[in-house]
């Protein structure tokens, strides 16, 4: 067994990996975990997106990783730095659940599906194909993305392990 380097991606955070390292983010609820992969360079990137659009941001210093519309371009730029070619990138995503299905009727309860929709739009805008997704429903997910294979492993409390 060889040691696999695990790179943690926090909430509203993004990171890239290559050379067989694995990217991991835990406890995705309404947040979306999106991964980009260059299969030739074997370069992987992951973002833990919390909100659909940076238009609602009121913070001074914008954290690009937090919003779907800013996270995708930021992740592409980071991948470019480690030698990935944008035209080769493919995407996968997981998360965007409605953790509390019956809480009020407020717009906040739809935040999961909105994160999913916005992430898809942001990928389309960059012409990056979405290969697979495991989104929606009402449960939390932890994901791991292997930079050597481009396989996304999804764990949940109720449904065990799944690969896409």
């Amino acid at each position: 067994m060889t040691e696999v380097t695990l790179i943690k991606v926090g909430m509203a955070d993004l990171n890239v990996a290559a050379g067989g390292a694995v990217l991991k983010t835990t406890g995705l609820g309404s947040c979306v975990g999106v991964t980009l992969y260059d299969p030739v360079r074997k370069a992987a990137g992951m973002a833990h997106i919390m909100l659909p659009s940076s238009e609602i941001a009121r913070e001074g210093q914008l954290n690009a990783a937090k919003y779907a519309d800013t996270a995708i371009p930021a992740l592409i730029a980071r991948l470019h730095e480690i030698g990935a070619v944008k035209e080769r990138l493919v995407a996968k995503m997981a998360g965007g659940a409605q953790m509390f299905a019956f809480a009020g009727g407020s717009e906040a309860t739809r935040i999961g599906p909105r994160n999913v929709e916005s992430t898809k739009l942001a990928l389309e805008a960059e012409n990056i194909p979405l290969l697979a997704e495991d989104t929606g429903a009402h449960y939390g997910r932890t994901i791991e993305f292997d930079s050597s294979t481009g396989v996304l492993v999804i764990r949940s409390v109720q449904y065990g392990v799944k690969e896409i």
Partner: protein
């Protein structure tokens, strides 16, 4: 994030007292419900990076039982009543029957709605004492329950803070039932806009 540019320590103290009064009443309600003494810790008030909030209940991937209520009225916010699966089992055995929650992985509909109702009663007493103190309207939404990873659950309560920065202000009170290691938490996460209203109502000068 400069949430309170002035009188930071004093304001944090005021919020600690808010937690003390609210959770104190909720702990009394829980104690009556269980007919057992319930110990409450001194609340902690902290401005925490999103990532660290789930650490309070054992980490992002720890499975917890959480009842969530959206607080409506004059000072909106999010409220969570969070307990371990072990404490949920003990609560249910005390209230329903000895063999309740024998299946840790899945609760029956009756068990889920009992837990939800406990959360409802406790949040109601937390908020009504806070309402009395501040003379503001604060009312809980219909409660909803989830048994899942702490990170996935709590991130839901951080959306309002999300647009402001990468930290959230959390009023956390942990409690323990009798000698048992029942670990539970009340989390109150007021919306960023609610702080000035809370302070004004409590006579704290607001810049």
């Amino acid at each position: 994030m400069s949430l309170f540019p002035k009188d930071f320590d004093f304001k944090m103290d005021v919020l600690r007292e808010v937690g003390n009064i609210g959770a104190g009443n909720a702990a009394t309600a829980l104690s009556r419900l269980l007919n057992k003494p319930v110990d409450m810790a001194v609340p902690t008030v902290s401005l925490l990076p999103f990532e660290e909030i789930a650490e309070r209940v054992g980490g992002s991937e720890t499975v917890v039982v959480a009842i969530f209520l959206r607080v409506g009225g004059d000072a909106p916010g999010n409220m969570f009543f969070i307990i371990t699966r072990e404490s949920a089992r003990r609560l249910l055995q005390g209230l329903l029957s000895e063999d309740a929650a024998s299946d840790e992985a899945e609760y029956s509909e009756m068990e889920m709605s009992t837990l939800c109702e406990i959360g409802n009663i406790l949040a109601g007493s937390y908020l009504s004492s806070l309402g009395d103190l501040t003379r503001m309207q604060m009312y809980p939404s219909v409660p909803s329950i989830a048994v899942d990873m702490a990170g996935a659950i709590l991130s839901y309560g951080l959306i309002q803070f999300g647009t402001m920065g990468d930290d959230a202000l959390l009023i956390d009170t942990s409690f323990r039932e009798g000698k048992e290691e029942t670990q539970g938490h009340f989390f109150l996460i007021p919306d960023p806009e609610s702080f000035d209203k809370l302070f004004r109502a409590l006579g704290v000068p607001v810049e």
